[in-house]
Amino acid sequence: MVRPDDNELAQLLNEKFIPVRIVNFKGVDMNLFQFDYDLTFAVLMMNANGYTYSRFGTMDATQTTHRMSIAGLKKAMRGVLALHQQEQTKAPPTRPRFTLDDMPSYRRNRVAQEECAHCHYANNFRIKEWRAAGKFTKDMLFQYPLPENIGITLDVDNNNVVKAVLPHSPAQRAGVQAGDVIVRANESLVFTAADLQFVLNAVPDEGKVSLQVSRGGKVQPPMTLPLPKGWRKTDISWRPSQADIPPTVGVWMEPLDAAQKKQRGIAPDRMALRVTFLFRGEEWVKTRGDLQMNDVIIGINGEQLPHMNARQFHAHFRLRFNVGDTVTLNVLRGNQRINVKVPCLDVGSTL
């Protein structure tokens, strides 16, 4: 993640920090390292007591890196260095170690025998534990809500600076303005988008969050943002942790491009997904009914849907339907419009 020609970043890392790279999640204490485990890249800046000053790293369904920049990272590091001067003795609350091995569903799984564990296993297996205990609801998949979920777009190079406030959003109603610097969310200091997301992650549906901003160099009184039911919902199709939740239709697809859609009389903003791969294994055959290679899925239960890719289709399907349902996929096979009924099954996990 370090740009090799950015000496300033390399010097910050080598001279001002102790840089640590963890590439194997086995044995990692999840009570010490709390972050969005679905990320492929995450940074925690902390003191020797394990107190986390700031987190860096955020993703969404559109691109992998457009919410991060080297400038933003360096700015966050400088902020942490200033704070470290005052808070290097601060300690996090004492909590027992909690690793992947503390989860029976992980210990029983074949991946436990592998040498290396991915960070997202933390989410995959926590979800398995919740499901086994009957405590899981699909709302739990909406982790680490984005700043946009409360109506804020942050400046990628300036981390906690508000670039835009979305109209009619909780942030706008509370009085947040473009140019504001978010300095605190609830009780926590905010240096980065990931810091704000960490606070938001603990806020329930129909909850509220308090934001304190600096405006024109002056810290303002805290603002309370009431957050309505459903505020956490967002496109989670990029998250590995949701890919294990049934039901799934056992096919992979590619979206048609605009020319291909036009040729078939489909509006450019509508979903059209051509089946390009049939999942292998007997258990998957039943999940796709009569769906065949090159079929184009253009709707679900008679409803046309907006343009989406295969990951988004699968996320939509598993959030909308439950095991036991029967769903009608509206399909183009050649020039024919047909309906394919698929049962919603739990075929077990890919992990």
């Binding site: 993640m1 370090v2 740009r3 090799p4 020609d5 950015d6 000496n7 390399a10 010097q11 890392l13 080598n14 001002k16 920090f17 102790i18 840089p19 640590v20 790279r21 963890i22 590439v23 999640f25 390292f33 972050f35 990320l39 492929t40 890249f41 995450a42 940074v43 925690l44 800046m45 902390m46 003191n47 020797a48 394990g50 000053y53 992998t64 890196t65 991060m68 920049s69 080297i70 590091m77 942490v80 260095l81 470290h84 290097q88 991915h118 960070c119 997202h120 590995p240 890919a243 992979w252 890919t350 992990l351």
Partner: protein, 58 residues
């Protein structure tokens, strides 16, 4: 995780690819970051030197 997702995630976890994604050039003569691989040792070093830890998970 499906095979292509796994490949994508694996590629993204490569530091050099991330650097490339962020639109940067590799220059051989530049400073190399001295990454530590053992957190507890790094923690002891942080305590000894008074520096904060920068922990990256890939």
């Amino acid at each position: 995780m499906k095979r292509h997702q796994f490949v994508f995630a694996t590629l993204l976890s490569c530091p050099l690819l991330l650097a490339a994604l962020w639109g940067v050039r590799a220059v051989a003569h530049n400073e190399v970051v001295n990454w530590r691989g053992d957190f507890e040792q790094a923690r002891a070093e942080a305590r000894r030197t008074g520096k904060p830890l920068f922990v990256v998970f890939r």
